[in-house]
């Protein structure tokens, strides 16, 4: 080869020098579990659907969401969004308004008439679901998705369970609930209303069902012994809320006292205000800090003029409705103790909201079942009862009682019913390490406080059952989605690709993320340090 003057060697590229051999640690791309997902009782991939919403892909976001939960519009209203409590953004400024974006997606789906993707091919199996509440409907949806035929039998006249007969309309408008139930029916779930299952074994044999999921809820109000004259008007919360949906509206009078400290007590008091009660007083034996009701609901109730008598128990009611109340103090363990101080409280009616029990009549004589504290024991991993092929969830099993937990039970049960029908254990999903705040490099995220949802004017809140909480506009929803830090999951910010001094991070194209060329990666760790969302991990080299 003819070389230029004074040149004796061929020119070579530095690519011949594999600097990867210098490395003692290597960066590896990982997916970590975001705290919102870890927290979600319904097992939603929140970070995953927000990712789609961030670029305005609302339909893709909704489809991603309903892989786990068929009720986004309901969830966006009634879920207690513990995900937001866990959100890493909360450590930066304010948590992402996950719940409000979920509601936006749910409402958008109803408005645009989006339907579920078609179910898998028919498996020929038939599953009975007892109870059309959140848990039963969720199980029905997930079983149908997997190609099973599903029949839901509901004792009541309408589907929804506590979503209809427990949660007041000002929190969940019925047209929203109806739309999401109707979509489920159109998906191919058979819904039989007014069809009470008297005995499960008989119903399964008669219908030729291969498995059953029980979700009858807890509709029997717990009573407390309060000595009362016959004419005292004492009602229970379940009946009061139920009669708001069916038949005559309850006659509560102008002075309503509610006994209890849970969300149901709040619901009744707020309902009473809307029905015209001038005084709605909650009597609770502990303090606000110890109240089981969620604080934002307490706050909204107080705004609407609901009063609360803390540290008080009701001893008796006389014929004129005068209640005798004893003041309490908390002992060292936080339990209320009587003080011997009494006062009276005038009332037109007293509503007991002291918890609910399960009607277990349909389970009589089923072998293998274990019932303790009035609820059915299940294997919490599979939701199967002690009787093979019989699964249960929602308020009738031991767990926190709310819509999201119930939906999660339905999903988990469906997965294991499917596996049981196929005669093998469900495949365990991949476990990811948590994406804690310490894993993030939050410097890169733009500063942006949370978007506040509009609320109905106070005057209309106490005089009508219009929805209290408003929704986000599209612009606000997009803003809110973009506040997501995408904890632990690559969102293609390109930092790793940009910051490598050795060009060792390789771009694979939009949606395909990045890889690392270990021939040249020297293991400096800059890409790991500068990844905003903690989606790269340093691992020691084998040798």
């Amino acid at each position: 080869m003819k070389k230029p003057f004074a040149i004796t060697l061929d020119p070579g590229s530095s690519l011949a020098n594999k600097t990867g051999s210098w490395r003692s640690e290597r960066p590896v791309y990982v997916d970590r579990l975001p705290p919102c997902n870890a927290q979600c009782p319904a097992g939603e991939d929140i970070q995953g659907w927000l990712y789609h919403a961030e670029s305005g892909g609302y339909e893709a976001a909704w489809r991603h969401l309903v892989r786990d939960n068929p009720f986004p519009a309901v969830m966006g209203r009634v879920c207690y969004h513990s995900c937001e409590g866990a959100c890493n953004r909360g450590k930066l400024d304010v948590a992402v308004g996950i719940n409000s974006v979920e509601r936006f997606l749910g409402d958008e789906a109803i408005r645009r008439g989006w339907r579920f993707d078609p179910p898998a091919a028919d498996t020929g199996r038939h599953v009975l679901v007892v109870g059309a509440g959140p848990s039963g409907l969720s199980a029905a949806y997930h079983l149908r998705r997997r190609g099973h035929r599903v029949t839901v039998r509901e004792a009541g006249p309408k589907a929804g369970g506590m979503m209809r007969f427990g949660i007041p309309q000002y929190r969940l408008p019925r047209d929203v609930l109806d739309a999401e139930v109707q979509r489920l029916v159109e998906f191919g779930v058979t819904l039989q209303l007014g069809a009470k299952v008297g005995h499960i074994a008989g119903a399964m044999a008669a219908g030729g069902f291969d498995a059953a999921f029980l979700a009858v809820g807890a509709h029997i109000a717990r009573r407390a012994f309060i000595p009362a004259k016959d004419s005292a008007r004492i009602l229970d919360a379940v009946k009061v809320l139920h009669s708001m949906e069916e038949g005559e509206r309850p006659m509560l009078g102008r002075r309503v006292v509610v006994y209890g400290g849970g969300n149901t007590a709040i619901d009744v008091a707020r309902t009473a205000r809307r029905l015209g009660a001038t005084e709605a007083v909650i009597v609770y034996r502990r303090t606000r800090e110890r109240m089981p009701a969620h604080d934002f609901e307490v706050e909204e109730a107080l705004q609407e003029g609901v009063q609360v008598k803390w540290l008080s128990t009701i001893l008796q009611a006389d014929a004129s409705g005068t209640l005798t109340i004893e003041k309490m103090v908390l002992d060292d363990k936080g339990n209320p103790q009587p003080t011997g101080e009494y006062e009276t409280l005038a009332s037109d009616s007293l509503v007991l909201a002291l918890g609910q029990d399960v009607d277990l009549g349909l389970l009589e004589g089923v072998p293998g079942l274990v019932i303790s504290d009035g609820v059915v024991e299940v294997d919490t991993a599979t939701m199967m009862t002690g009787h093979a092929g019989l699964f249960a969830g929602g308020d009738m099993v031991p767990a926190e009682r709310n819509v999201t937990v119930a939906v999660g039970h339905g999903k988990r049960a469906a997965r294991h019913i499917d596996a049981w029908l196929r005669g093998k254990a469900a495949e365990a999903g991949e476990k990811h390490e948590p994406a804690t705040f310490e894993r993030l490099n939050p410097w890169y995220y733009s500063d942006a406080p949370q978007t506040v949802r509009p609320q109905l004017a106070l005057a209309r809140r106490t005089s009508s059952f219009d929805e209290v909480q408003g929704g986000l506009t599209e612009e606000n929803a997009l803003f809110e989605a973009r506040r997501c830090l995408s904890c632990g999951n690559c969102f293609e910010c390109h930092n790793c690709y940009g910051v490598c001094p050795d060009n060792a991070n390789v771009k694979l194209g939009p949606g395909k993320r990045f890889s690392i060329n270990y021939d040249y990666c020297k293991g400096c760790g800059v890409c790991v340090a500068e990844c905003p969302c903690g989606a790269i991990r340093m691992e020691p080299e084998a040798n």
């Binding site: 060697l9 733009s446 390109h494 930092n495 001094p501």
Partner: protein
Amino acid sequence: MNAPVKFYQTGTFTVGNRLLAPGRRTVQASAERSNSINSGHRACQGCGEALGARYAVDAAMRATAGKLIAANATGCLEVFSTPYPETSWQLPWIHSLFGNAAAVGTGIAAALKVKARKGGDPAVRVIAQGGDGGTTDIGFGCLSGMFERNDDVLYICYDNEAYMNTGVQRSSATPAGARTNTTMAVGAEPGAPQGQGKNLPLIAMAHGIPYVATATVADLHDLEAKVLRAMSIRGARYLHVLVPCPLGWGAASHDTIRLARLARETGLFPEFEAEHGEVTAVTKIRHRVPVEEYLRPQKRFAHLFGSPGHPEMVAAMQAHADRNIRRFGLLAEES
């Protein structure tokens, strides 16, 4: 969509952002970037200079559609990129001496001018580049001459604040108090002496040249915008890029970008642009931090801390940062 949403998750803080319009993404986010310095170079792990040079030269390559020639001073950048017969450079590149990169750049620019007159391509442009030693000390005379003659060269200084190639000796860009192998951490005033300093961007401005700018490897959008601005101008231009050196600064290799970011956020390294001797723009501090946060991760400042330490020297550095903040107006207006 109704009104445009102005919030883009990470905005322009990250290298790329799928939510930004393609025109607003960086050169470095593109799969087609020229990678002007190829893989296989022998820079240390986490080298800020290798990174800064790729950022700057890739941007200049984009601005000139690849019609670019580089002259290089002696130093780390030259040594680690071209151990004969290998080269990492993906553009015509020449190294001559330690102190004459600006003069070589001037010569190439003159030759291109002649060639253009004889039918050559007038679009071919020149950059000259070097470290702080080759720029602020040894090459200073040639550089000043290049400025004074307003030769059509963009000179880029990659400032890592000492002679790192030869084993960390002090340069005129070494900050006061820093330990180097020629300014040991001993005596009453350990580390580099507290002199008057030598601020080359300000000296360049004093020449009244068309464009002077400072940047760091921590803010890529900012750095690329400055290179593109520089390449849109003819005449002598100067870009001063702070590039942390894990070896010489005694810092962890993964902290390179963080340290550059802290240098700006403390006010120790003001980022600004100037045209014809006048400051035209400054990059505001986003989250102001005390200098200690920048100094502590670096072993070259370790003697300032602990007991007894040298709190008075830390205080002097803080005063210097505060002065920069006042002088350049680095804080965003309180609203």
